[in-house]
Each structure stands twice: as structure tokens, then as C-alpha cells.
Symmetry: C2
Subunit: 241 residues, 2 copies
DNA sequence: ACAAAAGTGTTAGGCCTACACCCATGA
DNA sequence: TCATGGGTGTAGGCCTAACACTTTTGT
């Protein structure tokens, strides 16, 4: 570890952190991953000790190639989750002069989408916990605001890029997909219209699992047609509703 | 001025800057404001001396309330332009480890829209110059990329929020407005369809200037209905084309 | 047997697109 | 007088929104 006071500059420098809002979907609700700030580690983490916060941490000036890499590294260290840098979408900078009581800290905020059902096993339950968006406790620093902003940004983004693939298990049903959209946009859709639209996009392929679907009570299973999905993601699309 | 080496930290800190891409419209073309980097001032500005760059500069850790304030302050200092903090839209962070040869510098990129015809007088011609987007020289640091990203972001944003008010003079004509949209989106529109659409939004009010419009050769003058314009801006809108 | 979940198709209305002609001015 | 710029309206197509009934399973 570096010696105290080793790094000097002609002008004051701020500290820079990357914080991440990780959204997951359990088939019913949208959730967010939070960590509990501990008092055990470096002195610099003692602010807001014991409170819930977004995962994130300081830019390693000498090693982190980009701030997205910081986000990735810190998420892994704090929650056990391994995501690639590309999965972090930057959505804003929070730079208020008083946002950290210790020193001037600028944070670059990111959000990421994960398949909750698949990564739940990887999240280190000692440190991290998934919260329903409606039951998020009050958070350290300005993380409440960061979380709110991330959610609005996700709401915006969902209009232009399909969003299911990142959040749903590989095999899913139309009602699940619809519920996901409804959870994010906080509205209800007509079942028929939703199905028509999704089918027209051509990103769904029906999964044949042998069972010859007796009733209509058990939903049809789909997976995403990754090729069309990615093309749509690249070109952008217009979800109107 | 602070003494050299006065500021020490336990861990290395990056420098943080705010850079601004200021777009203006002269009635024909979209332009961008650039500054020429000088060698005269502090040592820290000698990198890329003499080259063109985006206006911007270092966060004043002790005084700048937010990074948007940094953007505002630096723009004023470097070009003479006075904008309010709200006029700077943050659109991304550029954090590549090698983007500045001197030390680790993270920049928070912003863009702003101004009425070129009205502010041209305020821009300090010794330091700053307006360039047509198609004639931008090669820029210092990674500012080429920042400029490209700003332009794409503007293109995106224009689909969801009306954009004329910030760029056009108070009184303008429909052909001007159309040309502005065409300049930004780099496409051509049908005159009639464009007019129909804009009129349906209800953000244009005809300006009566006495002259009883003999021919149709002289275009009708409009101003924005600020109330409807702001409402539309708040609610968002969907420009389809 | 009843409530809840899921599948399915049609119609009306609104928005987008394409398209042509006239008038006045300036060269 | 001719080329240019600007104003204006309509018809067809597509997408969106609204809407009801049937089947089956679980209680």
C-alpha cells in the first residue's frame, strides 16, 4: 500500500469514483444491488459506515484504463459480480462540492442490467443484497439521487433499444417480458397489443420443448433471436406505446 | 497562486476538466466554437500548444460548486461567452489513461446550443473562432472524438426535444428552421410535411410585422410560443421523420 | 364450479409519406 | 421571361389503440 502523503500536486485534485446501479429482474419485480458500507477497511471508507450504498469505488489512477474499468473492478470486489466493461452504461456525473464529507469526490455513475436468476448465486451475500426498487432504504451520500436518475435513464433508454435480453433468463414467456416492461415503465399494457408488437419486431423465437401445449394456461416459451435483437439494438428502434 | 507541491494525498488523484462543445447556427450551417491553445499561460497548458481545441479547463476543487460550473467558468474565461450552468448538457466522460500526456486527466464533456447571430459579438476573436462542422481542423487531445460524440448526441436529442429556440434568432422563418433540422440530422425533408408537423406541435406563432405579405416569395416570420415550447421540452416529444 | 392466466384478430383513427401547382421576386 | 424560393392540401398506407371470447388449470 502506498505511503501516506506520497502524492503531491501543484493544484488540488478531486478524488474520482465510479458507482454502479445494477438492475436485475426476478420474474416479478425490478431489483437493485446494494452493498453495506463497512468500517473495517481503509479509513477512506468509514464515511457513512454501516449504511447501504451503491457499489463503486475510487479510480485507480495508475492502473484503470478507463472509468468503466473502475466500475467493473469495484463491482467485482464489492459484490462478486463479474461484468464486462461494455455492460456499464455511463449516465451522468455527480460532482456537488459537498456530496462527500471527507474531500471533493466526483463520481461517474453507471448502470448495468443483469439476469438476476443467473447471477444471484455469484453475489456475495455477506456484502451485497438485492432490493426491490420499492423497498430501497435510504442510501449513503447522494446515492438516492443517483439511483433515481439511473431508473429514469433506463426508462428513457427502453424506448430506443430492446432491453429484455440482458434481464431475462434465456428462456422466458411473453407475460414475463410484458411484466418486465411494465415494471420498468410503471404502466400497464394491453396483452394483445404487446404481443403483436413484439412479434412484429422479429426478435422472438418460439422454443419447442416437446410438450404439445394442451391448454393456453401455460405460456409459450421464447428465446431471443440474438441476431435480430442485436441488429435492432444497433439500429435503434422506436417503442411507441 | 498556490505554491508548487502544496497539495498531497494518500492515493494518487486524477485531474478533472470540463470541456464544452458549443454549437451555433448562422442561418445556413451548424458551427462549433474552438479555441487556440496558447503557450503563454501556466505550464499545464503547454500540451498541444498552438493547436485548436474545445474550450474547457480544470475543475477548481475548492470553488466550483459542480462540474457544470467549471464548464461555464472556463467558457467565459476562454471565449468570452456567458452561458448559464443549465445550458450545458453533460453527455459523457472521457477517461482514457493516455488521453493527456502530462498526467491522468478525466474530462466531463458537455454541449451547449447558442444563437450564433447574437453571441458572435461576445466571442473574443483573439482566442476563439467559429468553425463550420465540415471544416473543423484536427484537434488537441481526444477532442476530435469528443466533438463527434457531441454531434451524435445532439442528433439523438433532437428527436425528443425541440431544439430551435436555443439556436435560432428570436424571429425566424420556416425554411430556416427546416434548414437547421436538416443541418443537424444531415437529411432533407419535404417542405410541406415539415411545415405541417411543426404547426401541429403548436410551438410557432406567426409574427405580424405590418407588411401585408404580397407574394409568397418572402417567407412568413415566426417566433416560438415559449410556453408551449417549454411544455413540449418538459414532456418530451417524438419527432419521427 | 369458479377465478385466474394466457392465447388470439379486427377495426377505427391518427400520423407519416408522397406528391403538384401557384405566385412573386430578382436576375 | 425565366429560374428560384416559398406557400399550401390531399389521399393512401402503416402503425397504434381499443376491444371480447375461449381454453385450461388450480383451488
Amino acid at each position: 500500500m502506498a505511503k501516506k502523503g506520497q502524492y503531491t500536486y501543484e493544484y488540488p485534485h478531486p478524488a474520482v469514483t465510479a458507482d454502479s446501479v445494477v438492475f436485475g429482474y426476478d420474474g416479478k419485480e425490478l431489483k437493485v444491488l446494494l452493498i453495506k458500507r463497512g468500517a473495517e477497511k481503509e479509513a477512506s471508507t468509514t464515511a457513512y459506515a454501516g449504511e447501504w450504498a451503491l457499489p463503486g469505488g475510487f479510480l485507480d489512477v495508475e492502473k484503470d484504463k478507463t472509468i468503466a474499468y473502475t466500475a467493473k473492478r469495484e463491482l467485482k470486489e464489492e459484490t462478486g459480480l463479474r461484468l464486462s466493461e461494455k455492460e456499464f452504461k455511463e449516465f451522468g456525473t455527480f460532482s456537488d462540492i459537498k456530496r462527500d464529507p471527507r474531500e471533493r469526490v466526483i463520481t461517474i455513475a453507471h448502470y448495468a442490467l443483469v439476469k438476476l436468476t443467473e447471477v444471484q448465486a455469484d453475489t456475495d451475500a455477506d456484502k451485497a443484497e438485492w432490493f426491490s426498487l420499492k423497498e430501497v432504504p435510504s442510501l449513503a451520500f447522494d446515492h438516492d439521487k443517483i439511483l433515481r436518475d439511473a431508473f429514469s435513464r433506463l426508462k428513457q433508454d427502453i424506448h430506443f433499444q430492446p432491453v429484455g435480453f440482458e434481464l431475462l433468463p434465456e428462456i422466458f414467456t411473453l407475460p414475463q417480458l410484458q411484466n418486465l416492461y411494465e415494471s420498468i415503465l410503471e404502466v400497464k399494457f394491453d396483452r394483445r397489443n404487446f404481443a403483436n408488437k413484439m412479434k412484429h419486431y422479429g426478435i422472438l423465437s418460439e422454443v419447442e420443448d416437446g410438450t404439445p401445449r394442451h391448454g393456453t394456461r401455460t405460456p409459450i416459451k421464447y428465446r431471443f433471436d440474438k441476431e435480430n435483437y442485436d441488429r435492432l439494438k444497433g439500429n435503434g428502434f422506436r417503442l411507441e406505446f
